[in-house]
Each structure stands twice: as C-alpha cells, then as structure tokens.
Symmetry: C2
Subunit: 258 residues, 2 copies
DNA sequence: TAGATTGTTAATCGATTAACAATC
DNA sequence: TAGATTGTTAATCGATTAACAATC
C-alpha cells in the first residue's frame, strides 16, 4: 500500500520573530558576488595592477559596473571618485566583510574519492581555511595518510571535532548516511556545513548549509543545452542559450523567522 | 493625442497569448528548484510514495508550497485539485522539462585528484549523463584506467571530442590552464561547460558555463558564520545566521545580446 | 579647470508570498 | 456533498539597471 506523504509538521518553524533586528546583513546575491570580486582583485594584484575602475573590475567579474558599485557601496565608501579603487585596499575590506581575516578550521567528513581529492587540494583556493581533520568509517581507510592528514575514525566524530576545534564541516558522503552524519556534526556544535552529498539535507535554524552537487549542475546545463538546440546551429542568435559565468550567486537563505 | 483605450469589444476574450516570442524559457531560479523537486520526488518514489501534495513536496524540498505550485504551473497543469500530484507522472514531466529524457555525453578534462574522483563517481547522481572521455596532459597519467575509462591525451582534445561526440565538458583543471582549455573546448563545439577550476572564465555568447568552487562556498559560509557569532551562543535566535538548504539556485545567465 | 569615475537615487524589472476561486 | 488541494491572481518584496550629481 502506498503511503501518503504527509507534511510532517514543522521541523524547525518555531521562529520567535524576535524583532530585535540588529543588522540586516548583506543580501545573499551580494555576498556571492563579493567572492567573485575577491578573486578578480587577487588576479589584478598578481598582475601588478594596483588600481581599478568599477568598469574594469566589473568586466573582469562578469557583472555590470552598476551592480558592482552598488554592491561595494553597501560595505562602505572605499573608492575615490575620478580615480577608482586601490586593489590592495579593496581586497582588505572585502576580506574583512566576508569574515576571512580569521582562520576557519574545516573538518572533512568522508574520505572516499571526493573527500580525499578535497583534502589534497591543499591551497583550498584561498588562505584562511585550515583542514584540521579527515574522517571516515571504513577500517581500510582509517589511519591512511592523505596530504598532511591522517584519516581518523568517524565513530569518534564528536571527540575529533572537539579536539581540533573544527568550526566548519565539509560532507563528502554517500546520500544514505549524509543526514545522520549531518545531525551529528550539528550536535557537535558546527554551524557551517558544505555538503557534497547528493541528497537534500535538513538542518536546524542557526546552521548554514550549502550544497554542491554535480548532478544538479549537469541537469541545469542540460536544460539550457536543450533550449539552445531548437534554433539549430544556423547562427540564429536569438535562439542561443544563455551564456557567461553562472556562478552560484543568489543562494537563498531563509532567515531565522522562516 | 494619446489614443483612448478601447474596450476592444471582447471579440475573442481569452486571448491565447500566442505572442511571437520564441519561448521565454524558465527563470534560472525556477530551473534550479526543479532539480531539487526532482530529487525529492525520486526519494518519495524510492519510499513507495506515489502521490504527494504541494505541501509535502515543498517541505521535502525546502521551499514554500506557494513557490512550488507556481513553479510547477509554469510547466503545465500536472496536479489534481483536491488530490495532489502523482509522483511518477510529475517526475516524467520534470525530467522532460529539464531535458533529461535524452543522453548527454560528458568529457572530463583534467584527471588530477578531482577529475579522477568525478570520473569514478559512476552513478553521476542521476542517469542520463555518460562520461565518455577523461583527458589529461600528464604523461604519467595518460593511459591509466580510471573507472571504465582510459585517460587520453589532452593534446588530442579536438579529436577525442569529435570521436566521442561529447556535448558537455567538465573542467577539473588548475586555474592557470583553465581559460585556454576552455577556449579549445568551446572551439570543439561544446556549448555546456561545468568548471571546477578556481578561476573566472570567459565564454562567448551561446555557451553556458557553470562554476563550482569550494573556496567560494567556504567564503560564503565564513560570512554567515561570522555574522552568527556576534550574538553569542546564548541561544538568542534573532542573532542566528541564515539556515537551511542553500542550493545554487538563481544562477544568473545573461542573454545572447549581452 | 576639465575629465573621470564614484556613490546614490529613482525607475524598472523580476521573484516570492498570500490568498482564494476553481474543482477534484 | 464536504473537504482538500491545485492553479492563478494580486500584492509585496527585493534586486538590477540607468542615470547623474558629487567630487576627486
């Protein structure tokens, strides 16, 4: 007999709507773009450029200069009219706004193919993120050395998180165990989670979960590819699919009142 | 003189709205959510559930039922008032809308740690995506067998893409070579690219590029973590950071005229 | 100064939500 | 029928764009 799916009440709808409203916070779309600007600025810095206009930075970032200036103006007034922005200075302010001036301690849970690849990916893109632990349940894998780390037993997850004072977790797990491990990670006090597990996860309010998933990305590509085809390869531009940097901007976060 | 609005005589009231418009396409945010619904529906299906209400599906997907119904109604009228949606039926329609009823041939360029992990990740999340090639430039790696595949020489990229008729590419490359390889992939005729390279890439109109990047994700987490802290761990809910599934919805695509 | 470019405003555009009539 | 739930409309909310006054 097929069960009827029920709405299961609310797992976390309590939402005291406390109204204190201390600070609004940046819109999610803006935060996502700040990371792009950061990368573009680093690239300018590496090229020895020490000053950029909003036009140049916007072009390098793939956004309009209007959007760029609006975004930056939400952080403060870090440019000079008639001149532009100092690369190094703006980099500082962006880093500060994103919370990158401190170190974050990341534990990777799951040392399969993907977990190991992530652990070995030393640079971690930008400095500021230290991988402090790599956990797995497989006895064949526990104890192995990957990069700088030794794989520890996920059975001791709580102890490992406490010892390493990990405050971010990356989940590189099969879908089947992702939710239960996620729950343990949350119970261990972690409030920032990045999941590569191909499944929807539920977390309580106050925990930020982001999700990266190749299947999803390919599905979205498929949608656009399908659309781009109908017009034929005849060069008809109006039939062409969308293009250009489609980062994961505008990630939606529901506020604590949701 | 502005023409007076005419009452238009109600000749044919329910204007079929068959505007010239070659088809507007779904908003990016909607497409992203469709992939989530797809996953949630598959999970219901696996649980033997064969009918869901918008409420139940919305909850499982982490969206409001209003949004869910609005999204689905853009595809057509696939529910039954008073009853709900048939899981299998809706799954069909979503798959069709996303272009998942055909097979896509994916070439992975870069067989380093990440590329190998992606190649081995056989299931590829959902069926419909066949990995047809895995390329690298490293002589130490070329010829190795990874999963079902043998690593081929990226020097022959064009030939390999033609032979395998790859129509999607996954870039798992260092930033330094990403743009030039990307250009070659585009020149080879691929119009759908998923990049894991930690750099901003430029592609011409008509090519859809999506980007996945751990550094970016961690930076966004850092922003929220930083915010969530000021209130202290004292359980003050209004100080809590955002929470819940933050998929990469709402990816921005600029139109071909940009 | 004259030229350049920011920061900001107002207008536009798009997406989400609430509510309810349609209808199974 | 009475109850349930969709599909859709109108209202709200938020984000992007264009334009320009401020100002270096």
């Amino acid at each position: 007999m097929a069960r009827q799916a029920r709405s299961e009440g609310d797992r976390h709808s309590v939402a005291p709507d406390d109204r204190a409203q201390p600070e609004k916070g940046l819109p999610a779309a803006v935060v996502a773009r700040l990371t792009i600007y950061l990368r573009a600025l680093n690239s300018f810095l590496a090229d020895g450029v020490d000053r950029v206009s909003s036009d140049a930075l916007a072009e390098a970032s793939g956004v309009s200069s209007s959007t760029l200036r609006k975004d930056l103006s939400q952080l403060g007034s870090y440019g000079t009219r008639g001149v532009g922005y100092e690369v190094e200075n703006l980099l500082q302010h962006l880093s500060a706004a994103l919370g990158l001036t401190r170190d974050w301690r990341v534990a990777i849970v799951g040392a399969g193919n993907l977990g190991r690849a992530l652990a070995r990916y030393g640079g971690f893109g930008t400095r500021g993120f230290d991988v402090v632990a790599l956990l797995d349940t497989d006895p064949q894998i526990i104890g192995n050395e990957i990069g700088w780390l030794r794989v520890t037993d996920a059975a001791n997850l709580e102890a490992v998180f406490e010892r390493t004072r990990a405050n971010m977790a990356v989940l590189a797990l099969p879908a089947s165990v992702a939710q239960s491990v996620c729950d343990r990670v949350v119970a261990a006090g972690v409030r920032s989670i990045l999941s590569f597990a191909p499944t929807i996860l539920q977390v309580p309010p106050g925990v930020t979960l982001r999700k990266v998933d190749m299947a999803t990305e390919l599905q979205i590509l498929a949608y656009h590819a399908q659309r781009g085809e109908s017009g034929g390869e005849s060069g008809q531009p109006s039939a062409a699919a969308a293009h250009t940097q489609a980062h994961d901007d505008a990630a939606r976060h529901r506020g604590p009142s949701a």
